[in-house]
Amino acid sequence: MSLTLKWTAVGAVVAGCVGYLAYQTTGTTAAYYRTVAEVRADPSGEARVLGTVDTDVVRTKGGLEVKFTAIDGAYRMPVVFDGTVPDIFRPGIQVVVEGRMGSDGAFHAASLLAKCPSRFTAASPAPG
């Protein structure tokens, strides 16, 4: 077996293992970016949704849970998140929530990421 062929074979084995692992894991862990409108139209499945936090933020369970409405254009979606919200969380910022729609009509987020601003623009919520 020639040298190049030998090393290509080693490379192919490494690439094959990692490629298979990547393919498998992508299939089982990937979530899809949906807009608020899409999630409202088809509430099934795991989704990642980008929205702007409305002024109706309510903290319940002594502050452990947070409820708010995510706005995207003309569409609105109630969100429930159980966990620590990021420091910059407040009305008007953009958040990415990952989770699924519950039977109660609210989006139950398993994770909530706030978009970290590199520049500060306005303190008021974005107009619809």
Binding site: K6, L21, T26, T29, Y33, Q94, S118, F120
Partner: protein, 648 residues
């Protein structure tokens, strides 16, 4: 207004000087004219001076609150302290690009000045390549993202810096990462210079290696400081989130790590020359790709940098760089063909090659996860995204095998290894197996814990064996064996980092709760008592809420500062109690008038090992490689002959 004119003028002057330098330097390389090459270099230095002037102008504008300049008004206000005014230079998009070219012009000038003494023709080509990279960024700065754009109406005050960015850590990690990204252009230009000139000699290879090491070091420091900042300031209990912005900073560093290993095969055995040139090209392309991802918003990230029009420009530049360097590599296949390829799989050079393959596999997996939203968006019309569990499951095994390779690779001799080295592997393998079984008994037979513990201990045993080999007698010849000690000190650092990562990932315990005053909290073996909170009024109407949490005789003070002038945004001040074995990490959440408070309590094992290990790793690599005696070509030729005489 005057400042804006001076700044824009300096950028345009720099742009013209780089254009001139590209033309003169590439012609000088082609016709091999040293006098013209010197002219091209001086034009490059002059462009650097123009960039220095533009940078100084921007800093003066920030410090004097020249609000007519949009960049100043958008990133600072009259309350911003002077230190943060200077840091907002690289805090915003336009300023960060200017910082990029400033660093590249300084490092590039040093590189071309040094390279000219090694190989006149290759240095001329390298100057042209560096001038082209610099010229592209100056073009973007002058016409697309100009930091000296002027506002039509001058505001009364600026918008100020977001509270989360008002931290000392913010002052240090971005400039290191940006400098790291910029610096990858230097080894790339040197590699392209030697390709275009058809070779630069052994001293040139050493110069490439030294510049690649500088990039590696800058990026390593930047990544470590970024992790440190995320952990101590952001208050979510972790230090790495597999966010696209973090990933793209890691990618060129992984390539540089591969290069540090494979270059030894070229220096010792004249092998892998094409591979090494390819790695330097790849590191640069990934650095440009990283800048594109970070600055264009094409991939959703937690870090929203202002999205602007620079995306297509960077995409175009990346395409030109890919095609251009691809052609150069293909055209010089004859020069790149190694006189002695890696012949035996089980040998030190084989181990280095395997290390490279694993690093590139991890890189490919991380790159795939990062660009998946783009690819799936184009192919399926739906943007798919993967979270941290993808990276843990796919890149994680690559890193585990790499640590395992650290236990075996250093024991395998160069060239045809034979079988005799297998004896030396017995101690680390048995130690690793014993610790894996012990970890199984103590930790309830968790396979991930057993594998991590076994592999890390095996690598540690091999590393310590290598460091203590020859005992004190060998250490007296420390100066001569600096490369040996530095390398294994770096391996030791990496083992310590690996232990820290494994400990904090696998042993992490957290609990979030609403605590009432006097309530005791038990988490991961710690017993805490929440005592209540106090509020203090700070300057500018900011309010600090501080909780008192008792741990035995000690009291910890997690706090939170509210900024009413930033729409009521609040910012946690994490309380961390570090011991060598555990970090107790407390975050204060919302508080209620009845004295109760939301507390996040995290116990992270071995996190301090990451910081200590990273310092060892970076220190070790620098010790091994900096201040290598600069060999003049004559001395270079003399060394092998001397060696041959001794052997005969």
């Amino acid at each position: 207004m005057t400042l804006a004119l001076v700044g824009s003028g300096a950028l345009l002057a720099g742009l013209m000087l780089t254009g001139f330098s590209i033309l003169v330097s590439s012609y000088a390389g082609r016709v091999a004219r040293p006098d013209l090459a010197a002219v091209g270099r001086r034009a490059f230095y002059a462009a650097g001076i123009a960039i220095g002037l533009a940078s100084a102008t921007l800093i003066v504008a920030l410090l004097t609150h020249d609000l007519a300049i949009a960049f100043v008004a958008e990133h600072t206000d009259s309350n911003t302290p002077a230190g943060l005014l200077v840091s907002s230079f690289y805090g915003g998009q336009e300023g960060s690009l200017l910082y990029w070219v400033l660093i590249l012009s300084i490092l590039g000038s040093a590189a071309v000045a040094g390279a000219a003494r090694l190989h006149e023709q290759a240095a001329a080509y390298a100057t042209a390549i560096l001038a082209a990279v610099l010229g592209f960024f100056l073009l973007v700065l002058a016409f697309v993202a100009n930091p000296f754009d002027v506002l039509q109406i001058v505001p009364r005050d600026g918008l100020g810096l977001n509270p989360i960015l008002r931290d000392g850590g913010m002052l240090v990690h971005p400039p290191f990462l940006l400098a790291g990204f910029a610096s990858f252009a230097v080894p790339f230009a040197l590699a392209m210079g030697s390709l275009l000139a058809g070779g630069g000699g052994a001293a040139w290879t050493q110069a490439m290696r030294r510049w690649a090491l500088l990039s590696w070091g800058l990026q390593a420091v930047g990544l470590t400081l970024g992790m440190w900042w995320a952990y101590h300031v952001l208050g979510w209990g972790g230090y790495w989130g597999w966010d696209p912005v973090e990933n793209v900073a890691l990618l060129p560093w992984l390539v540089a790590t591969a290069y540090i290993h494979s270059i030894q095969v070229e220096e010792k055995r004249q092998g892998l020359r094409a591979w090494n040139h390819g790695l330097l090209v790849l590191a640069f392309l990934l650095a440009i790709f990283g800048t594109l991802v970070v600055r264009s918003g094409i991939v959703q990230s937690v870090h929203t940098f202002a999205v602007s029009a620079i995306g297509p420009w960077f995409f175009g530049f990346l395409a030109v760089a890919v095609v251009g360097s691809g052609i150069a590599l293909a055209a010089r296949a004859e020069y790149l063909r190694s006189p002695r390829p890696v012949e035996v799989a089980v040998s030190r050079e084989g181990a280095f090659l395997l290390n490279n393959l694993l690093l590139l596999a991890a890189l490919a997996a991380i790159l795939w996860g990062t660009v998946l939203p783009l690819v799936s968006g184009l192919v399926r019309g739906e943007q798919a995204v993967v979270g941290p569990s993808y990276y843990d499951r796919v890149a994680g095994p690559c890193f585990v095998v790499l640590v395992a390779l650290m236990a075996i690779g250093p024991l395998v001799p160069w060239r045809n290894a034979g079988r005799s080295w297998v004896r030396t592997a017995v101690t680390p393998v048995i130690a690793g197996l014993a610790v894996a079984i012990l970890a199984g008994i103590l930790g309830g037979w968790r396979p991930d814990v057993m594998v991590a513990a076994g592999v890390i201990v095996a690598a540690a045993v091999t590393t310590v064996q290598k460091l203590t080999k020859g005992g004190l007698g060998a250490m007296r010849r420390f100066g001569k064996r600096r490369h040996h000690y530095g390398s294994y000190l770096a391996h030791l650092g990496l083992v310590v980092v690996a232990a820290g990562i494994a400990g904090s990932q696998l042993g992490h315990v957290q609990r979030q709760l609403v605590a009432r005053p006097g309530q005791s909290i038990a988490v991961g073996g710690y017993s805490l008592v929440y005592q209540g909170y106090t509020t203090t009024l700070l300057d500018h109407g900011h309010v600090q809420t501080t909780a008192d949490v008792a741990l035995g005789q000690e009291t910890l003070h997690p706090a939170r500062i509210a900024y009413p002038d930033f729409g009521g945004q609040t910012d946690a001040r994490v309380a961390i109690r570090s011991t060598p074995l555990h970090d107790l990490y407390l975050v204060l959440g919302p508080t209620a008038p009845d004295g109760s408070a939301v507390l996040l309590v995290v116990v992270n094992p071995l996190v301090t090992w990451i910081w200590v290990g990273a310092a060892l790793l970076i220190g070790g690599v620098l010790l091994a490689n900096l201040r290598l005696p600069a060999k003049a070509p004559a001395a270079e030729a003399a060394t092998p002959r001397l060696g041959a005489m001794v052997r005969s």
